[in-house]
Symmetry: C2
């Protein structure tokens, strides 16, 4: 997207072989076959060449390898650079957010440049030029606006926010609810039940987010609700697939064996429960999901348990 706007972009490959392969094909054959790189996009495996001249360093790697990638590039980052995390997920076992990892791993002179991006941004649609929106958060509005100005285009609308915690947790925790929405689909629960589940699920992850320091309205925005809707709608969602399989009565270890990729929602369920215990937040949906995944609770019984709790106020 940036290269298409005429901004010089360098993609950092992990090895010389990967860089050569991407350079000769000018596309990523496995992840986005047929999407040809714009002319302005350079590829290298040399950290200093990619990172040192960059005004904007975008980190878009899986959460599990985020910390080691930060360690790999950190010494080359220029003092005034914006360091933008586009990674959704929490580090196991403690549920660290990516911006927390950045603060732990980067020298403090770089901390003011840390920003995070999250929203309903399925890559396949974005490369087709279909419209999408996202949020970039930073405690410093000026830095978020700098990143916004670079990334915004006629088909990609960027909003700013000062709620770093909310934007990061929204993108991660929504996968727990996507997993449950898959169970609701698999149980043929109907539109009422699924809509209620998503609403109450959002209320639950909002409670956890607020206890962790987030603003509640961030979860009703693009990085929470927006991403959740796109995930639940997408036929490609792995979290939804896991939920549907659970509803059919398959145990999680068996589902896991049949998948080549990890469904982030499963790990996030564990991380969220650890956070909830520490922060004393009641999370009945996440707990029920955990029991279905790891303790063999039948999904029908989980639903009956959630419906049968004592009456209460909505918030």
């Amino acid at each position: 997207m940036l290269a298409q706007k005429g901004i010089p972009v360098t993609l950092l490959a992990r090895t010389p072989e990967e860089a050569d392969g991407l350079n000769s094909c000018r596309q990523h054959l496995r992840l986005l076959p047929g999407v040809i790189f714009p002319q302005g996009l350079k590829i290298t495996n040399l950290v200093a060449r990619a990172v040192a001249p960059a005004r904007l360093v975008i980190l878009a790697v899986p959460s599990a390898s985020f910390r080691q990638n930060v360690r790999w590039v950190r010494d080359s980052i220029a003092p005034e650079a914006i360091i933008l995390s586009a990674t959704k997920g929490l580090e196991l076992p403690n549920g660290r957010r990516m911006s927390q990892i950045l603060k732990e791993e980067l020298p403090s002179r770089l901390h003011s440049g840390i920003c995070v991006l999250s929203g309903p941004n399925l890559a396949k649609e974005i490369v087709q030029g279909k419209p999408a929106s996202t949020v970039i958060a930073s405690p410093d509005p000026a830095r978020a606006e700098e990143a916004q100005a670079l990334l915004m285009s006629s088909s990609f609308r960027v909003y700013t926010s000062n709620d770093v915690v909310g934007v990061e947790l929204g993108g991660a925790l929504k996968n727990i609810i996507a997993l449950g929405a898959g169970i609701a689909d698999g149980l043929n629960m109907g539109d009422n039940g699924k809509a209620a589940f998503i609403s109450r699920g959002l209320a639950e992850i909002t409670r956890l987010g607020v206890a962790a320091g987030a603003h509640p309205m961030t979860f009703a925005g693009l990085a929470g609700l927006g991403d959740l809707i796109a995930t639940c709608a997408s036929r490609l969602s792995r979290n939804r697939y896991v939920g549907e399989q659970l509803a059919l009565g398959k145990p999680w270890p068996e589902i896991q064996r049949s998948m080549s990729n990890v469904a982030e929602g499963v790990n996030t369920t564990c991380a969220a429960l650890a956070m909830a215990e520490k922060l004393h937040v009641d999370m009945p949906i996440t707990e029920a999901t955990y029991r279905v995944l790891f303790e063999g609770l039948p999904p029908q019984q989980a639903v009956a348990g959630l419906m049968g709790r004592p009456p209460r106020a909505e918030r």
Copy 2:
């Protein structure tokens, strides 16, 4: 639902003929054919017989005839009764909420009994016994809890709220966004774009709600987001149908002629714009929808206009 729980229920028909017809068929042949009334359900066209002994008076009629129905029954309502509106919509031309109509039409000694109910409650699923949740709001928690205790069952979960304005506006204003989501579907905008549209639409109706006195989180709950998700998912939604037809380039008067029922979202778009002007709230999505409906703005141009606005913060 109440009769199935063993609670004595009387349905008030408008004419003796309607009462006789419902009594002899024990079902509503046009609206819910095949759904047999429980034994405990009585039917009458005599106001005093239906309303005077009732501890709970449920008003579930179209918004356009709400006021005249209140006038019809008001003299028979017992002093301690709960008067529960289950109607979604706003009265034209001024956008009055149903509880406002109740306050205007009922003697003040009955005002403390006024409650409203809203949520993702497609009737066809509820009569099938599928799980659903809803919200009942009243300024007095004790009255809302009384209604909650009556209506709650193992398949119908009722939450209480003190945000009457938010619960009523959520159920009404969400139809504007459902209409736009239909346009997004018709334009084949993709999951990212539709999710962003729903999120930003919810943010917009939340702004209007807050200016009118609602609590923002109510719109992220069952009566706002929940109802919106169920409406957007339902294949039977008239608002979505209108949106899809608009996206195909059909003008609204032509679509209107092809429909036997009114799509509430069209009237609500007008009522919401009137409210927005009075309360000085910026509603770009509602305005664009109005221009597509009544001023011939091509939907593609409306989307381009929304994407091309100046950059901004999420809230």
